[in-house]
């Protein structure tokens, strides 16, 4: 049975930060080590190791203890790992594997311009993913009101690719049929269909399709849609809305690529 052990490690390195950095690097390079976090106090580092059996986890702890720079090692807790298929699913996408690195500091949530409107803040979303709460995560509005501003991503001290994670959650939400009625999902559909058809986005067509598609769901107020008409007219009168879509010459070539990609399944 897959087993997880929490290891408290004291290093023999006196040079504080930099010595710890190389120790962390060395530990992170071990395939069994899931995470390493520096701590203060009696011990210098906390590591989480995962292996197939309790015996194997003890073996990992012994290997670490045998390293010349380890002064002492204490096994804090050993517990069986409950299967978490949702976490695995997220981690299999490009960038998704970074959720394992999150230290729950909340820098992402405090950077997000739209956090006040979110069901769960970015930090909470990551906690829920790691708790395996697929339904709660994929039915939330969080990823649908992420504007892809990347502020969380550049500020994250653990290099979690939070914006990419939001895109991943959008895809999974659609794939599991949990995005019904989400206006952003409808807009994305109209946008992507415009590319699949012509090779380029035809803004007027995309917007018309989006507003029409949201009317029957009741998600968008019909009045709100009508309110957009003067805006569209203004853009049109300023020569900023082309009536006819432009089709690229290579639209057949693009179609071949898209169909082949669809037949190949997932990205990785």
């Amino acid at each position: 049975m897959e087993t997880k052990a929490y290891l408290m490690i004291k290093t023999a390195r006196e040079d504080g930060g930099d010595g710890h950095k190389s120790a962390i690097k060395e530990l992170e390079a071990m395939p069994e080590v899931e995470a390493v976090v520096p701590v203060s106090g009696e011990y210098d580092l906390v590591g989480i190791a995962i292996a197939d059996t309790p015996q194997a986890v003890v073996g990992v702890a012994n290997t670490i203890q045998a390293k010349e720079w380890v002064k002492s090692l204490h096994v804090l807790k050993v517990e069986p790992v409950a299967p978490n298929p949702f976490l695995e699913e997220v981690c299999s996408t490009p960038g998704g594997e970074t959720v394992r690195w999150c230290a729950q500091c909340g820098t992402c949530s405090s950077s997000c311009p739209n956090v006040a409107q979110m069901d769960y803040s970015p930090r909470k979303i990551i906690a829920l993913i790691r708790a395996g709460r697929r339904y709660d995560v994929l039915t939330s509005n969080t990823m649908w009101i992420c504007a892809s501003c990347y502020l969380c991503t550049v500020r994250c001290p653990r290099d979690v690719k939070i914006t990419e994670l939001m895109h991943t959650l959008e895809r999974l939400s659609v794939r599991h049929g949990l995005s019904l009625g989400r206006a952003t999902a409808a807009m994305y559909r109209a946008f992507v269909d415009s590319i699949r058809k012509n090779g380029r986005v035809h803004e007027l067509g995309m917007m018309m399709r989006f507003y029409l598609s949201t009317l029957p769901t009741g998600k968008m107020n019909p009045l709100a849609t009508i309110k957009m008409l003067p805006l569209a007219l203004k853009l049109f009168l300023h020569g900023r809305m082309s009536i006819k879509p432009t089709k690229i010459k290579g639209s057949k070539q693009l179609k071949t690529i898209v169909e082949k990609a669809r037949a190949s399944g997932g990205a990785r």
């Binding site: 490009p94 739209n114 504007a147 501003c149 991503t153 300023h238 690229i248 997932g266």
Partner: protein, 297 residues
Amino acid sequence: MKYYTYFPGCSSSEGTAVAYGLSTQAIASPLGMELIELEDWNCCGSTPYGSTNELEAVCVAARDLALAEKTGLDLVTPCSSCYTTLNKVNSQLKEYPDLKVKVDECLAAADLKYKGEVKVRHLFEVIYNDIGLDVVKSKVVNPLRGLRVAPYYGCQLVRPEPGFDNPWNPQSIDHLIVTLGAEAVPYPLKDRCCGGSLVIPEVDIALGLIHKLLESAASNGAQCIVTVCPLCQTNLDAYQGMVNRKFRTKYNLPILFFTQLLGLALGVEPKALALDKSIVSAEAILAPYIKVTKPAV
């Protein structure tokens, strides 16, 4: 003369940001740039495609990169979203070899091949780094003295790709504004989000963000905001009226593309800069500067 492969992106080629595309073409030759449009380019896919189907999205962008690779030149785009999307695909193909194998197969089905050698660059960065502000300064014939401009970077010019400017406190647009003889006002929200494409499905959230950006610029005494992104311009310009109605404000801030401001200072014929396509007219604030007609050589 410096040569580049040019990727206008959907909105700058004939859509809501057509003024960006036109003004880009107008300033290219005065600055010694030859922008050769990538033949038969397709949409980069932007955020919506990547949020719909990952592999498909990467492949669609890879078609552009494969076509661009044949030209052997850097790929330059004025659109911050195209810049980020194409760069992201480039780095994902390097980072995930299993993804690259799949993308190669999909491209091969359409007789295309991408080795991964195209350098994707933002037009602003090219002007800032390749042309250089010294050269720009030497070509300014119509300094915009006294014009107070808020430098608006938006998100995707400085994030997430590192290297070009400080992602926390970028300075490059400030420097350009000063080079053109104008004044860059302090703009604390210079890199905050305008809402991007959320303006369509979640208009109320976006209006709140746009309101904050306009408020910050106006309270710092800006007469206009200058931007490097087609979506930022559309959101701040076209939705300004809705912001005024919703928040009972009276903002009247023209939103200019940096290429328009640059063109004006270089003495490019104002007509060629498509200033008339702005919904909030810039006529009043720019009137003192629209006088020189001889373009710089």
